[in-house]
Structures are given as structure tokens and as C-alpha cells.
Symmetry: C2
Subunit: 514 residues, 2 copies
């Protein structure tokens, strides 16, 4: 904790600016920063922490958000009048800012569940998946027989299986009335296959109708999945209809319970963390508190050998050149640019646009340009090298910071990350999300204290402390990291206590419904 309430926020140790937590009158002495305000600094705006000669970079989130247009004195207000972006902003200069990762020893640890193949789970669910909406009701009834409901007190059939976190039906609204090949089908198959193989599932049952376009066979083949004692399939039209399939499904899950329950947690290194980064319901604090604090925690995860997965490509737009400069190879930098090009074409074809330029309201709030705005979202990924760029729902195999292509809409976006293998999810929110996403625990990080106080049953961590001036970004980030380790070890998130996470499975729909 800070000894005194600070009137500014310093978002990264590399930054040569601080952000005014409250309006700072001209001439105010800031003892904790060692500067005096040269002009009035409106709330949320930037102040120079040291002299920045003309042409030198201005750093926020540890990233270049522009260059001094004139000589800037320590304590000066920095905004559009003295900060410019120039050709640098379009210079993707693959890898020029990549640097060796500063690994931490000894590695932090958590209590994980080690599967037979060596992968480490943070939860232990049984999953009921579907190929098509037509089998969703059947899947729901199979899961419902085992469902614990904290509101009604129902316990389902899991009373004797305390090590099973739940039996969850993750259903969707598509799977037929679509082209049999192409991006739409590939994406759906990849998503379902990714869940079928998710480490947090002890066992999986996939239920299909029979005549759907999205057949179970090709889902399995897309990732070389074999049926076996932990992977079962059922087809309603081959099982005598819905009622018989529900009964057979319940019986099948009952068979799976003893082995699924036979797990113990053991000490494993933090390198087994694969953390999905999300934001939703953002507000003007998101880029000031929760996102940079999560970014600090992201750096710790990577420095302990783990992985963090940034997505929401539409919100990266405008800051991509900073990520390509951190790419470990030109090929990986190019992959990111290729995805951005795809999005420009896709949104144009659909009559929309990617345009993340700061609005007049954003500028009044202190955001100087599109780089700074997008960096507010990207801040949650921290400052380490970009080690890979993968497509939506593709397996994440590299250690370090990985970008997964995908939209910004929370459930669709998180579904891709979990299909890719993420075993913890961190979700920053300013307006108040109630997001859960079985089988992966979802930590909610409030960007402001009033939200944390207003939704105590949904928020896991208050990052409003930074704006309140009672905690630094680093202190808050350290606290996030420690919480992630506890959650990964089995401590339940708020959304898990409520039992949320059945309804947020939302594969990205590409292509026409016909």
C-alpha cells in the first residue's frame, strides 16, 4: 500500500507519464512523483514525470503512444497539443522490441490436477457437448440430472463425488442449415473439438441428432480424437429418440463418475497456467486500473513460465504495430497483420467497420490517439514478447504471450480461448459483468470501487484501489497473480459459487444461416 493517497497513477515502471486520478490544479506539488504540475491536469489526463525532449517517445503501459512534438518539461500536461504519432505508428518493424524474458526462480506453484497425458487441470468437470442445436435439449436433460443448484438447494446425482466440479451441458444454436465446408464449419468443429479435449474435463459425452450437417465424426477427426473410456458419443436417431438418449446419457455419465472422481491435487509449477485475458463492459477506468494491473500479473505469469492469451482482435486494431515490434519472429508479426487485414475485409463485407479512433468524449477524458486507446485494452497482456498468433479456437501450444484471433464479444471471445486450452480466465469489467465459463474458472476484476461494492457476489478482485490511490498497479497486479494461483488450486470464483457458466458457450458464427 502507498503511505499517502496519491493523486496520480503510474501504470508501468517504464512510463514517463502518470495519469491524474483527480483534477490537479496548476502548481500542485506531487511529492510521491517529485514533480510540480506545470498546468492544470484534468482527471484521467497525462502528466510528464520528467523532461521529454522534442522527438523523444512518450511511454504509457510501457509502450510508445507518441512522440514529444515540442520539448516537454517535467510536470507538463501531455495531450494532442504536444504529443504526435508519425510514421513509427505504421512501422511494424517485426521483432525490434523483442527482449529476453526475465524468468523468475524459483517458480511459483499451485495445486493442480495432473492428467494421464501430463497436462494440468484447474477444474474437474464432465462435459456434455452437442454437434447441433437439435440435440441441445437432450444434452441439457442429461446434465440436469447431476446439477447442483445453489438457489433451489438441489444436489443432483453428484453427492458421492466431491471431486467432480459438475456435469455441464454446453450447447449452441447452430450445426445445420450452414455450408458443409468453409470457415463457418471449420470454426464450429474446431471449437467443439477444443472443448472435447479440454484438460478441465475428466470425461466428455458428445450428443448429435444424426442428420445434421455438422456430423460428430468430422468433429472428432479434426483433432484426431478417439472414443474411449473418457470420450463417448451418442446419436439420437440411432438411440431411439430423445427420451431413450437422455436415459442412456444419464447412465453413461453415471458410469464415468467413479473414475472422474478419482483425482487429487498436487503441487505443480505455475508454468501450467494458461490464462485467458478478457475485458467486457469497459469504462474509463479500464485502461487505468484493472487492465494495467492484469498486465502486470500477465508479465508475472509469463516470467514464471506460463502462458497468457490475448484476443478481441477488433480492440487490438490501432496498436498492432507495438505488438509486431515485440514479435519473436517476422512470421509471427505477419500473422497478426494478416488477421487485421481479414477483419478489415470481413467487417466491410458485412457493412460495418473497424474504427477504434478516440471519440471527442475519449479525447476529453485524456486519450490522445488510437494507439493510446487500443493500448488500454491491450494493457492486460503486459509487456513480454509476442510468441505466437493463432486462429480462433486453435490450440495454444507456446509458452508466453499468445494472441488468438477473435471478436470482442465476451462469450464468443472466451469460448475461443477455452477451446484453445485456457485453464483460468481473467475478465476486467467496469460496468459489471457476471461472466462464467465452465469448465474454466472466470475471475472478475472490477475497474472501480463503486462497482466492486455494488456487485459483491460477482466481483472477485477490486482494482479500483489504484484509482482510489491506496494501491499501486504493481501491488494490485501482484495480488491478481496470487489470486490466480489460489483459484487454479481449487478456490472457487464468485461465478462458480453462483454456478454460472453453462450458458456462455458461444462458438463464433461465420457464414450464412440458410
Amino acid at each position: 500500500m502507498l503511505n499517502t493517497l496519491s493523486s496520480t497513477m503510474h501504470l508501468n515502471l517504464l512510463d514517463n507519464v502518470a495519469i491524474a486520478r483527480v483534477e490537479i490544479p496548476q502548481g500542485t506539488v506531487l511529492p510521491d512523483r517529485g514533480v510540480t504540475a506545470g498546468q492544470r491536469i484534468p482527471r484521467g489526463h497525462k502528466m510528464a514525470l520528467k523532461a521529454i525532449p522534442q522527438g523523444e517517445p512518450i511511454l504509457r503501459y510501457g509502450q510508445v503512444i507518441g512522440f514529444a512534438k515540442t520539448d516537454i518539461a517535467a510536470g507538463d500536461h501531455i495531450h494532442v497539443h504536444n504529443c504526435e504519432i508519425h510514421a513509427f505508428a505504421r512501422d511494424h518493424a517485426f521483432g525490434v522490441d523483442a527482449k529476453p524474458t526475465d524468468y523468475i526462480q524459483p517458480q511459483a506453484t499451485f495445486q493442480g490436477i495432473v492428467r494421464a497425458d501430463g497436462r494440468v487441470a484447474t477444474r474437474n468437470y464432465i462435459g456434455i457437448l452437442t454437434s447441433v442445436n437439435c440435440s441441445a435439449g437432450t444434452a441439457r436433460y442429461v446434465a440436469e440430472a447431476f446439477r447442483r443448484n445453489p438457489f433451489t438447494g438441489d444436489q443432483g446425482l453428484l453427492a458421492d463425488y466431491p471431486n467432480i466440479d459438475g456435469v455441464v451441458a454446453l450447447t449452441h444454436k447452430t450445426g445445420c442449415g450452414m455450408a458443409i465446408a468453409g470457415d463457418g464449419m471449420d470454426t464450429l468443429r474446431r471449437t467443439i473439438a477444443g472443448y472435447a479435449e479440454h484438460v478441465n474435463f475428466a470425461a466428455v459425452l458428445i450428443i448429435g441428432l444424426g442428420c445434421e450437417t455438422n456430423q460428430i465424426g468430422p468433429i472428432m477427426q479434426s483433432r484426431g480424437i478417439q472414443t474411449g473410456t473418457k470420450m463417448a458419443t451418442m446419436v439420437i436417431q440411432e438411440t431411439g429418440g430423445a427420451r431413450k438418449t437422455v436415459e442412456a446419457g444419464i447412465a453413461k455419465v453415471c458410469e464415468l463418475l467413479p473414475e472422474a472422481n478419482a483425482v487429487t491435487r498436487v503441487t505443480v509449477p505455475a508454468s501450467h497456467l494458461n490464462v485467458a485475458l478478457q475485458c467486457g463492459g469497459s469504462d474509463s477506468f479500464s485502461g487505468l486500473t484493472a487492465n494495467p494491473a492484469l498486465g502486470y500479473a500477465s508479465d508475472l505469469i509469463v516470467r514464471h513460465g506460463g502462458t497468457v492469451v490475448l484476443t478481441e482482435t477488433t480492440e487490438i486494431y490501432g496498436a498492432e504495430h507495438l505488438l509486431t515490434r515485440r514479435a519473436v519472429s517476422p512470421a509471427i508479426g505477419q500473422k497478426l497483420l494478416d488477421r487485421l487485414s481479414w477483419w478489415e475485409d470481413y467487417t466491410r463485407r458485412n457493412g460495418g467497420e473497424i474504427d477504434n479512433n478516440p471519440s471527442p468524449g475519449n479525447k476529453a477524458g485524456g486519450l490522445t490517439n488510437i494507439v493510446e486507446k487500443s493500448l488500454g485494452a491491450v494493457a492486460k497482456a503486459g509487456t513480454t514478447n509476442l510468441v505466437d498468433v493463432v486462429g480462433y479456437a486453435e490450440p495454444v501450444t507456446e509458452k508466453g504471450l499468445v494472441i488468438m484471433d477473435g471478436p470482442g464479444f465476451d462469450p464468443v471471445s472466451a469460448t475461443g480461448q477455452i477451446a484453445g486450452g485456457c485453464n483460468v480466465l481473467c475478465f476486467t469489467t467496469g460496468r459489471g459483468s457476471v461472466f462464467g465459463c465452465k469448465p474454466t474458472p472466470s475471475l472478475k476484476l472490477a475497474t472501480n470501487t463503486p462497482l466492486y461494492d455494488r456487485q459483491p457476489d460477482d466481483m472477485d478482485i477490486n482494482c479500483g484501489t489504484i484509482a482510489d490511490g491506496v494501491e499501486t498497479v504493481e501491488e494490485c497486479g501482484q495480488r491478481i497473480f496470487e489470486t490466480i494461483l489460489r483459484i487454479a488450486s481449487g478456490e472457487r470464483t464468485k461465478s462458480e459459487e453462483i454456478g454460472f457458466g453453462d450458458d456462455e458457450f458461444a462458438p463464433w458464427q461465420l457464414g450464412a444461416t440458410v
Copy 2:
């Protein structure tokens, strides 16, 4: 019932062809048709019932599927060698085949629930709707407290309310990460508003998150819906989070129960039937048995003053000129052509195509051209005038045969029809659907007897009797009509006995997820 097993099917009284139920050797005498087979007639193929001079129309489903290319004798095999389509096929000739409806008196009746505004319900549910996926989990938990589960025996909180068919949460996967205006948003709003106003809901609670693109206010305004004793809304971010909203939602529904339970069924004319027509999992029998039999029932419904709603625009393609010829005005004929043009553009933009031409397999099965193929799907709409064409999920207000634009995918398609006000749904299936769609009862019509025997818990009506030769199309259609009246009066369908219909609510997604 027929006295003898017939070897052919006569699908409409106007038809000058019959369809071979089994392969008919050359020279076979067909006493029930009064003809002798002039050539071998393969199973599923057409045989002339009387002489058809060159240039005269060939009628199937009571519709022109082509013209005699040569003089055709009674008993001749009719296929591509002697049946041609020409300019007629592209002549939309608005209204030339419209004819006065042959109304039946006295009108048939059913036992319906008359609402305060005079509309007639067939079921009495309480609906929990959502603006966005982010409130889906909350809606689910509210409904779950009241849920009867036939597999677990749970009774929920409805034990004292026998006149309430259920409390159902109809949730979806979208509502944010989408353009705030345009077709995508309009379609979603219209769909949710249509359900909010559905006659089969005694009361509705709409739950939102708070910061979503698809706000509750504009949903309500889109159809002038007012909150009141039967229409409540809740916003999670204004209610203190998910847990408090679930608790408040359960309390709100408890308040609604006594009034919702206070309904009685009274005798009402069949003109209050608004029947959604669907097919899914079609097979080669669909166009021979269930679809024409449902078409006969459709004609009875219209002749008793009611409404039938055909949709699945992509399956109308190729037979649209026959529907425009039955249009009651040029404007309505043109509306159908405009929707077909939209689809051509839409599928092209999305890299697909509308191409319903018979495949070699279709031709081997006896389908001569695209008109005949599409008519197999359209046959379920019967032969009355086309009185209106409406957009997806738009209110259906006319009596008679109405076309609603929409895709062929069952859940999406049926969701549009129910949003439009349909209070019964008839679903023909050859492969075996298990479709339910609360709050509207879903009747399943098997196209073949093996399916009916294989899925007895899902199929309501066997139309395979027609192919078996033990019932005529008219007899089966009459039986469907009588079953619809019983179901509308409260008798439960097979999918209602299982409790299906919570998961099939699937608003059509148009536009990009971003």
C-alpha cells in the same frame, strides 16, 4: 382407410399423376386408378392417370410441375423424357391462379384460452427473456426454480398452479458485439419483442445486463410494449448483480403465478389457429407423405378461417412462380420475389449459393425438375391463396396462407414463426427430429413408418401410412387437422411430455459479430 393396399399415391385431387409407392412392372393393372402401367414405373416416380396431350400441364400437389413434351397416354411413366418446363416457369403472373377460398361452415372449434385483448392462446406459460447472452445464466436460474423435470421428478415451485404449463427461460448467444443499428439488430429486437407479446405467455420477465448494445428499452419500443402487471423488466447492473437478480426474479415470478394460473379454456372457432409449417431432416418420403398430408390439413385450417405460415425461403426457391400466381395482389407477389432476390445477394456475399436443382440422386428418385423438388417442401402449405408475405419474426396478421421470410434451419426458422404469433407448429420429418419450441406446442409428423416406430417418444403422427398404402393423403390430412384441434385444446405433444423446447429459441443472426 383404403380397402386394398394401393401401389400408388395420389397427392392432390387435382393431380393428373400418381406416384409409385413400390416399383410397378410394365403392364400392371391398377384397379384403384383405372389405368395400366405403360412402362416400368420405378418407386417414387410419376405415372399418368389420364391422357395428357402435348403442351398440357402436368399437375402434382395440385400445382403445375411442367408440360407434356409429347402426347402422354394414361399409365405412362412421366419424367425428364416427356415433361418439360418452359417460359411458364419464370412467368410470375401475379394472382392469375388466385381463387375464392371455399370456407367450411360450421367452423370447427377448439378449447382455447381467451386473453384480455381477445387473442386466443393454446398454452399458458410464463416467459423469461433476455436482451443479451450476459443475462442468460440469470434467466436460467429464475426459470429453474419453477422447472418440472420428467427425468428427475423435480416439480419446482409450480405444484399449486396446474393451469401454468411452465416457466421457461428462452435465452440466446448474442445481443452485444454487434452493430447498434441495421438488419442484425432489427431482427434480434423484433424476435424478442414478438416473444414478449406471444399470446401463449400469461406474463413475461425480460432480464438485461445493463451495458449491452441491445438495450431492453428499444426492444419494448419496437412494438410499443409497456411494462405492467404481466410485463416486467430487470437489469442486473441495477439490481446488485446476478445473485440478487435471480432472487428478485424468482420473487417476481412468484407474484405473477396466481393471476397467470387463473385461466380457463373455452370453445373458440378454429379461425384462431395460427399454424407454423416446418420440415427438417427431410427424406425422399417428405414430398410424398407428410408434406402433402400437412398441405391438406393446411387447406382445412384456411377453409375454417385460420392461418398457416410457410417459411424456409431457401426451400421455396424454384417454386416461387407458383406461389406468386396464387398471390391475392401484385404487391404481395412482388414481396416474395423481393425476398428471393435478397437471398440471392445474401448467399453470394457470404460465399454460398441457393441451388436447389435436383441432384442425380434426386432424379433417380423421380424428381424431374427444380419446380417439383421445391414443391415437395412447399406442399405442406396446401393450395389456397397467398394472402401475405412478411419479414422474419414480423407479426402475422392476415388470415389464410402467409409466407414468412427466413432460413431453412429448423430452430431459427421456427423462432421467426413463433415471434410472428404462431400458436401451433407442425413439423414434418423423415430422419427424426426431436424439436420442441415453448411456448408453442410442436407436433412431429413422421414421413415414414419405420421412423414412427423407431422414435415413438418423439413422433406425434405417422404419415408413413400413405406410403404404406393404408391411408390416402386426404385421410391422413384430416387426421392431422383433428390432432391440431386436440393439441390446441391442451392435449400435450410428445415433445411437451418430455419437456423439450427451452433450447430451440434461436433468433436469426445477421451481420458480423465484432
